[in-house]
Amino acid sequence: MVRIFLVIFCFLSYGNFNYLVDNLLIFSLINIGFYSFLKEKKLDLFDFIIFILSTYLVELFLGLPLFISVVTFSLPLLALSYIINNFSVHYSINSIFIFILSLLIFYFLYPEVVMTLKIKDYLLYFLVLIFLSIGLRLDGKEQS
């Protein structure tokens, strides 16, 4: 539910603030998508729909062909999910992995933005990492 709320928030906020916030919203949407897909080995429908929704918004805002991410990324991400969820690692490692993966995708989408980021902008991006860790931790507690 929190993710749905965040996706709607990103959908409504995009374009109403400055350039930096818009980039952060795109980055957050990528993170939400990866988080939904990679948080568990067994992918359930709700997580998959959130993944579709968040990637759809990224495609919408960046002018990419619609649903291309669902089609191209689903199978590689399933494989990746299978790998990382079979290792019993700390949730913070998982969150850092998701963060770096999102940063890579963001770099391919916006290479010039990532290259010209200032240190205080990086700090804002690390907020997303913190929320990822919190999300994974709470999710783990819920399951246990």
């Binding site: 959908f11 919408l60 299978y82």
Partner: protein, 253 residues
């Protein structure tokens, strides 16, 4: 690896949706447009609320600025009141001395402060309306001053308002004194007044630039402007933009 049938079905559906959008871009574009339409509609109440909050915040900020200005003006007012008291003391001493020599107190010209309430831009004619009239003691022919120079004269008056004809107006004419010699001047609708004729003069008078043009009054001499020359013709130069912010009407002159 896909251990959920529903997820797989959804994937298949979106795969075909993607193919459709890819092969028929029109549908993809329409979907994007609808998405933005929904976004715009959903945003509307939030934008309205943020606009209201912004307005309230700016109102609050401007209120703070006004309060600060009021505090500064209060201080300035206090300072001016002190100066006024000092000047009153000096005047009373002068009055006492005057009484010793003349056996009565001097008549001090009385002025009242007025503000412009109409035709401030002097667009249609060169007259304007002030916020005081007969009830405040204003009468036709009273001079209106901006502190230094004469701005105009009262043309017509009602109980609460009066119309002032400015010195630059075509309708303005007055007797002035330059170097103890009387002249008649009239406004020209420009920023100067022209000389009509020299009053009671037989010989020709030579005027010099920057000579002070004075209007003789019963109690006080008022300054109208200074002599200048346009195309070798003497004129009385008035300020380009009349200062209408701090006007006073001389009511007993």
């Amino acid at each position: 690896m896909i251990n959920n049938k529903k997820v797989f079905l959804v994937y298949i559906v979106f795969f075909f949706v993607f193919l459709t959008f890819f092969l028929f871009p029109k549908y993809g574009n329409n979907t994007k447009l609808y998405s933005y339409y929904i976004k715009e509609k959903l945003e509307t109440p939030f934008i309205f609320i943020s606009f209201k909050i912004n307005n309230f915040y700016s109102f609050f900020q401007s209120n703070k600025v006004h309060l600060k200005n009021i505090a500064e003006l209060k201080k300035e007012n206090e300072y001016l009141n002190n100066i006024n008291k000092y000047l009153e003391t000096i005047t009373s001493k002068y009055s006492d001395q005057y009484k010793i020599f003349h056996e009565n107190y001097p008549t001090i010209p009385i002025t009242i402060g007025v503000s412009v309430i109409g035709d401030r831009n002097l667009l249609l004619n060169k007259n304007f309306i002030i916020n005081k009239g007969k009830q405040s003691g204003i009468d036709i022919g009273n001079y209106v001053l901006d502190g230094i120079n004469v701005v105009g004269r009262i043309k017509s008056v009602t109980n609460n308002n009066a119309e002032v004809v400015t010195v630059i107006s075509n309708d303005y004419g007055d007797e002035v004194v330059i170097n103890n010699q009387s002249f008649i001047v009239t406004g020209t609708n420009n920023n100067y007044l022209s000389f009509l004729r020299q009053k009671n003069a037989i010989e020709e008078i030579i005027l010099k630039k920057n000579q002070k043009v004075i209007i003789k009054n019963e109690l006080v001499n008022l300054t109208l402007g200074r002599v200048d020359f346009i195309d070798k013709q003497p004129v009385v130069i008035a300020p380009k933009n009349l200062n209408l912010d701090n006007l006073r009407v001389l009511i007993n002159g």
